[in-house]
């Protein structure tokens, strides 16, 4: 069952979008994305000398007239794109509870999946961590076809944020079974040390993937309330706690830390050639998907 956001209008608008990659990948089936292969296609790629057995329809007769040599026109083949969606379901995605970070991330990832499926591409969804209500796998096979969006929604509905995730380890395990390079989109709050992020990005790049990161933050994480009388701050993942007198000064320090973390995250993405987008829960989600992501080059 799709979330309430996915109305027919929203779905129709999603179908007008396509996943955009900065690189070309080999696919198994014809699709809408330029492939590394030469073949049937619309976009001219190169010439090569005619060889017996070549289809005479691709001989460039004009070039033959100028050079008295036979050349065959080669075209870029358009194939499907394998897109891997990674959703962080560590416990931090459930907090702050009133910001519904997890739900926002879920909607984003379902929207991207629908864009992929509507573009006749293959999409695979993996959850990082989390708690499953059933003995479900943490990853789905590659799905094709619009109707599989429901399967993905059902898959996500069986998982909820919980626990702590060893991101590097989890990605390493996920990528061991992945044999197809393609688009990799990772949705998380990325509120963990950037060393972990960098290690994970190295893994993804090793898989020759075009990586995009979408950071989902709660509004309260950007503007946390004051607790001048003190509050016991408990880490949602490891349970560690500390007493914090979160007054205006402390909040300023927190904001500086969060800002530095975000800037370093962006810098890391920039250095790694990774798309980066940030969604804050108080933003308009359809607008983010339909306008901001195309503007950032993640969709087209």
């Amino acid at each position: 069952m799709l979330p309430s956001l996915f109305t027919s209008q929203f779905l129709a608008r999603l179908e007008t979008l396509r996943i955009r990659t900065r690189r070309r990948f080999l696919g198994n089936r014809p699709g809408g994305h330029l492939s590394l292969r030469r073949g049937a296609g619309l976009e001219f790629a190169d010439y090569r000398r005619y060889a017996p057995g070549d289809d005479l329809r691709y001989i460039d007769w004009n070039l033959y007239g100028r050079t008295d040599r036979l050349y065959i026109k080669q075209f870029q083949q358009e194939e499907e794109l394998y897109t891997s969606l990674f959703l962080d379901l560590s416990a931090s995605m459930a907090y702050p509870t009133q910001d519904h970070k997890h739900e926002a991330a879920r909607d984003i990832i379902l929207s991207l999946a629908h864009v992929v499926l509507a573009g006749n591409d293959a999409v695979k969804l993996s959850v990082l961590g989390g708690r499953s209500t059933q003995a479900a796998q943490s990853t789905t096979p590659f799905f094709r076809g619009r109707q599989r969006i429901f399967a993905l929604a059902d898959f996500l509905s069986t998982h909820s944020p919980a626990g702590r995730v060893d991101v590097v380890q989890t990605f390493a395990q996920q990528l061991q079974t992945a044999h197809r390079p393609g688009k990799a989109i990772w949705i998380s709050d990325f509120l963990f040390p950037l060393s972990v992020l960098r290690a994970t990005l190295s893994l993804l790049r090793g898989m020759n993937s075009d990586i995009a990161l979408i950071q989902v933050l709660g509004h309260e994480e950007l503007d946390p309330p004051l607790f001048p009388a003190g509050a016991r701050m408990v880490d949602s993942e490891n349970g560690e706690e500390t007493l914090v007198y979160f007054d205006a000064g402390a909040k300023q320090t927190y904001m500086q830390r969060l800002d530095r973390h975000s800037r370093e995250l962006q810098s890391s993405c920039h250095q790694a050639g990774v798309h980066y987008a940030r969604f804050v829960t108080h933003q308009d989600l359809p607008d983010f998907i339909l306008n901001e992501l195309p503007a950032l080059g993640l969709l087209k």
Binding site: A91, S92, M93, Y95, P96, T97, Q98, K101, D189, L191, F192, P193, G218, E220, E221, P225, L226, F227, P228, A229, G230, A231, R232, M233, V234, D235, S236, N238, E240, E241, T242, L243, V244, Y245, F246, D247, G249, A250, T253, Y254, R257, L258, H261
Partner: protein, 636 residues
């Protein structure tokens, strides 16, 4: 304007103020908040907050609530702004003669001291008060009244008080009567509506409580502030000075000076002077006794006499009572009615000069016609009631209704007599041996003057303003030098009866003088006036009214062309008794003597409504802050 709390005991509630910390201490149980990433919060708060005192985070809300609580406690303590109210203040200055007493250390009088003290006392009075100054004795010639209340000066502002005080001077008159003083104080408060009364006097309130002290002390009350001035000190005083000049032997002028010298140890002397020429006529050294009577005989004839005590001024408190004046009685013929069953014996009285004798038998005696006689002699008879004129009863018969008779005796011996009484003057009692005597029973109003072996023989007393003498033996016929003892006694009796007041032309200070109707007909003619020339030679015209004699000395009265002199003296033992000053009347002390701590009258303006308004405003502010604080706390 003074800020005060009417219920300061309520401030003990402040001891419970630390209870306000309790909810804040309970609130210090920190909220547990799950955050997505703790590393952003690590070591983010200042270390000082971790200290014990730092744990108690006092928010502005706390201080707001603290302020509200303090204001509530303040309201319960009933804060009040006390403003000095415009008061009507009566200043009563004792202007009696004793206020002329000099103080020990300096030559200032008690009245001067009272003025100084008045300025000090008024410094505690609101400058907006209205003050009226009263004197206990009417002043001459400014005051015309006879009671203290009538000497009122108009209400004045405080700045005018020094000018008013400059006009005041002390009189020579004694204190008004206790009744008049009590009535006066009651009038000030109950009728004139004065809020406070300052009374500057040398008199003290009767001792009633420990708050009162002897000497120079003050008694505070809500309405009356009595400031007693001066300290007890010895004083000599002439309490009586009289000239005795019988119309029946006018060449003999006797003077009697009675001196009160109870607490004086210094040497002193009594002199008789001519008050006009200051010529000393006679002098006598005094002895150390409390009450002394000095008799001066054979005084030379002059207009006015002055008796004076000569003493070192440092040893005497009041000069005024050291001097007394007397005017020589005028000589006139005395109309005498002799009622006797033996008129032939009465004829012998015609040998006495200045005596106009009228003889009547007891049957012809008409009590309605006695007013035309100077006195009446009842010889061997007595009327039913005392006549309304001086009278002598010579050997009243048995069964009379006026005097009870004792035993009869022949030739009784005189055993005792009253020294100093005019009836016993010049008498040699050993020679006085009546042939027959009937003892008389003395009465309360008529004590015995001469006693004999048979009992009291001569009674003398006054009743209803008239002098009466009764003798238990017959003094008639008047034999002159042939029977000197009886003749002298007869002349003494006649002279005493002829000078009923004993002080002809003699007044005391404070007396009231009025036009005498008799001088201008039976009822006095309308518009009759009396011109008074005071001792200081100022004159005063008195018209159908009464005037005071508040200055010691010799006054000259001119009424309808007739001039006469009178001597006015301070013969007040109470004024002269400086060693034991007279206390205020009990009625006055009961009315005003309630001790009180506060002297100034104030108007209380409660401040609690304003504070309550502030509390309500602060409560609204606190509610707004609290609502914001609740909104700021996240649900997680």
């Amino acid at each position: 304007m003074e800020f005060t709390f009417l219920s300061p005991a309520v401030f003990s509630l402040l001891l419970a103020l630390p209870l306000l910390f309790l909810p804040y201490l309970l609130q210090q149980r920190h909220t547990q908040l799950v955050v997505s990433a703790l590393f952003l919060y690590q070591d983010i708060s200042a270390p000082a907050r971790r200290r014990l005192w730092g744990r108690l985070r006092l928010t502005p809300l706390f201080f707001l609530q603290l302020l509200i609580l303090l204001l509530l406690v303040g309201i319960a303590a009933r804060p009040t702004l006390q403003q000095d109210a415009t008061q009507k203040i009566a200043i009563v200055m004792d202007t009696s003669a004793s206020m002329q007493t000099r103080t020990d250390s300096e030559a200032r009088t008690l009245f001067d001291m009272a003025k100084t003290r008045l300025a000090q006392e008024l410094s505690s009075v609101s400058a907006e008060s209205l003050v009226s100054v009263f004197t206990t004795n009417p002043l001459v010639p400014n005051g015309l009244g006879t009671t203290p209340a009538e000497s009122t000066l108009p209400l004045s502002d405080m700045p005018n008080i020094p000018n008013i005080l400059q006009q005041l001077s002390v009189s020579d008159a004694p204190d008004p009567s206790d009744t008049a003083l009590s009535t006066f104080f009651n009038q000030l408060l109950n009728e004139h509506g004065f809020d406070r009364v300052f009374f500057f006097t040398d008199r003290s309130l009767p001792q009633r409580s420990d708050s009162q002290q002897r000497g120079d002390f003050k008694i505070d009350s809500q309405t009356l502030r009595v400031v007693t001035l001066g300290t007890p000190r010895p004083n000599l005083a002439i309490t009586d000075f009289r000239l005795y000049r019988s119309p029946f032997y006018p060449d003999e002028i006797q003077a009697t000076v009675r001196v009160y010298a109870e607490e004086t140890q210094a040497a002193w002397q009594v002199v008789i002077e001519d008050s006009l020429t200051n010529q000393r006529l006679m002098a006598q050294q005094a002895t150390q006794t409390a009450q002394q009577t000095f008799s001066f005989s054979h005084l030379p004839v002059t207009h006015t006499y002055r008796a004076r005590i000569l003493i070192d001024p440092k040893e005497d408190g009041l000069d005024l009572d050291n001097t007394a004046y007397a005017v020589l009685p005028t000589l006139t013929d005395v109309q005498v009615l002799l009622v006797t069953p033996t008129p032939e014996i009465g004829q012998s009285l015609r040998h006495i000069p200045n005596l106009k004798l009228t003889l009547q038998t007891p049957q012809a005696y008409d009590p309605e016609q006695v007013s035309q006689f100077g006195f009446i002699l009842f010889h061997l008879t007595a009327p039913e009631v005392l006549p309304p004129t001086p009278a002598a009863f010579l050997l009243p018969p048995e069964g009379n209704r006026l005097f009870s008779l004792g035993q009869a005796a022949t030739q009784p011996r005189i055993t005792n007599w009253s020294l100093g009484h005019p009836l016993t003057a010049y008498l040699t009692f050993s020679l006085l041996r009546p042939v027959y005597a009937q003892a008389l029973q003395p009465a309360v109003w008529c004590p015995a003057i001469i006693h004999s072996t048979a009992g009291p023989l001569v009674l003398a007393g006054e009743r209803a303003g008239y002098r009466y003498v009764a003798t238990g033996f017959d003094i008639l016929p008047y034999l002159g030098q042939k029977n000197l003892p009886v003749s002298i006694l007869t002349l003494n009796i006649l002279g005493w009866l002829a000078n009923p007041a004993g002080r002809q032309g003699h007044y005391t200070t404070g007396d009231v003088v009025a036009p005498q109707p008799k001088s201008n007909g039976a009822n006095g003619a309308p518009g009759s006036t009396l011109q008074i020339r005071f001792p200081h030679q100022t004159t005063f015209q008195l018209l159908k009214s009464a005037g005071p004699l508040n200055q010691q000395g010799v006054y000259t009265f001119r009424e309808n062309g007739v001039e006469r002199r009178v001597a006015v003296n301070l013969f007040s033992p109470e004024e002269a008794r400086l060693g034991k000053p007279l206390s205020l009347p009990q009625e006055a002390s009961e009315t005003f003597g309630v001790p009180s701590e506060t002297a100034a009258r104030t108007v209380d303006q409660p401040l609690w409504p304003w504070l309550l308004l502030a509390v309500l405003g602060l409560c609204g502010l606190e509610w707004w802050f609290a609502a914001r604080a609740v909104e700021a706390v996240p649900s997680s």
